[in-house]
């Protein structure tokens, strides 16, 4: 990692250049305003200092036209900056089907990541240049924040739910990962490294490391170990919803509400099964709160996501 002093941070994501352009534009705009004001104030202070011979007849006590101009003009400039920034902001959260998910669990005071193929890391995150990434993140304890200055991205990581952000690393190198939300005594040392590798090298790296089943496979093992398949599989005698392809599906709940199943919904259903009971089913699912850790929950969710592509088992009839 480069410890030389730089005026600007490295620009290592596809959105960083655009970010810097917006920042520069805003800087020029605000800098011009500041400069004009500074020049005016200085000029007035010199020209109209006490004892100078400048003309002081009829100093204006107001001018409605001027006031309106310097209300409307900045407002228009502000709308422009707002619009550009809002558009770029929205793109950080726009779902990208090509993005590889990376699952991150933050805890006091470390980062734990898992790639879909099962490769895990602590304090480091390897990604491939040019490959879009979707971070799926949760915290085990307090609020943390995933901050990579070189990518110009930041997203708070919350306990009890999943937060996401999309980015595409663009430049090979090693960059800082900081926790940016105060989280306790060792907040300042909860840093990590983001390692951006060329795609081929990343592919090799992904295959290395201890041989573990992919995340979805691990999730499937957990799905069986905790007894989920006892109710939620094809041969079960218990009437339980079919979970294949659940993520993204529209779900009708018992109390008349409808929602789109996402990762948080699945997590809540495992930990608080009586919260959003599906219409037509009895609320008999037991809670697994305190039994399944955050990383295991993510693995189960990954399995359920992958099961959408599973065509081997015969479809169950759901009412």
């Amino acid at each position: 990692m480069n410890s030389d002093f730089h005026w600007l941070p490295a620009s290592a994501s596809s959105s960083a250049a655009r970010f810097d352009a917006l920042a520069l534009t805003t800087l020029i705009m605000t800098g011009l305003v500041a400069l004009i004001l500074f020049v005016l104030v200085t000029w007035f202070c010199i020209r109209y200092r006490a004892g100078s011979s400048a003309g002081r007849q009829h100093p204006p006590s107001g001018n409605r036209t001027v006031e309106v101009i310097w209300i409307v003009a900045p407002l228009l400039l502000f709308f422009a900056v707002f619009g550009w920034a809002a558009y770029d902001y929205a793109s950080l959260y726009r779902p990208n089907p090509d993005a590889t998910p990376i699952y991150l669990v933050a805890k006091q005071w470390m980062w734990k990541a898992e790639h879909p193929n099962g490769r895990r890391e602590v304090g480091e995150l390897h990604v491939a240049a040019g490959q879009p990434v979707r971070m799926v993140m949760t915290s085990q304890d307090v609020i943390h924040s995933f901050f990579v200055p070189a990518f110009r991205v930041k997203q708070d990581v919350l306990p009890g739910r999943y937060t996401s952000i999309y980015f595409t690393p663009s430049k090979v190198g090693v960059y800082h990962l900081f926790c940016a939300e105060f989280c306790g005594t060792e907040h300042a040392t909860m840093s990590g490294r983001i390692v951006v590798m060329p795609p081929a090298e990343f592919g090799r790296w992904l295959q290395q490391g201890p041989s573990v089943p992919g995340m979805a496979a691990r999730g499937f093992a957990l799905f069986r170990r905790f007894g989920c398949s006892g109710c939620h599989s094809a041969g079960s005698t218990v009437h339980a919803p079919d979970l294949r392809g659940l993520i993204g599906r529209r779900v009708h709940l018992q109390d008349g509400r409808e929602l789109t199943a996402d990762a948080t919904y699945v997590r809540d259903s495992i930990l608080l099964p009586h919260k959003d009971v599906v219409a037509g089913y009895a609320p008999i699912m037991p809670s697994f709160a305190g039994q399944i850790g955050e990383e295991d929950l993510l693995a189960i969710i990954e399995y359920i996501k992958e099961s959408a592509h599973d065509e081997r088992s015969t479809p169950r009839h759901t009412r």
Binding site: D255, D268, L271, L272, P273, H274, K275, P283, S287, A289
Partner: protein, 210 residues
Amino acid sequence: MSTANASAIAERGEPEHAATFALWILLATELLLFGPLFLGYVYVRTHFPDAAAAASRHTDMLLGTVNTAILLTSSLCMAVAAERARAQRSTQWWLSATALLGLAFLVIKGIEYQHEFAEHLFPDRGFAPADAISLDRLHGMQLFFLLYFAMTALHALHLAVGCVFCLGLTVRGGRQHALAVELTGLYWHFVDVVWIFLYPLLYLLGRAGG
């Protein structure tokens, strides 16, 4: 008010205006003091609708309704007292009645709290309602009771302060009595109006239609 202040305002001929104005501002601050609790209530009710209804069924409907009647009657007494004060007639009985009804409210509220403590409904670590069938039901009921206790306790605190003022006025009487009764009445009615919102939100939630 101090003599300097009184003479200053007297110069402008509007002694009542300043104090009444100040009280209205105070009532605005009180509204915003209750605000976060109402927001918390909205949160619990939208995130835990079943749990909130179940929790509400644990409140004592009888005592709550009796208390509502008591408070409304106390407001009536207060209004009569204010009317009589304006007409320069004696207000002592009416002010005492207001204060006594207020105290009765507090006593009954205390009895309700006692029952709720006995049923392990106080939202601390020992929270254990009989019908918490699941974890999220437990969480939801606990949060409902957090708000129940917070809102009713804050209300009771304000009511107690009102009782003290009523009793004080009963004892004091004297100059500027009409203004003091008017201001106390304004405060008392505000406390009453807050209860009129709390009662249905807390007591009637799970009870419509059985």
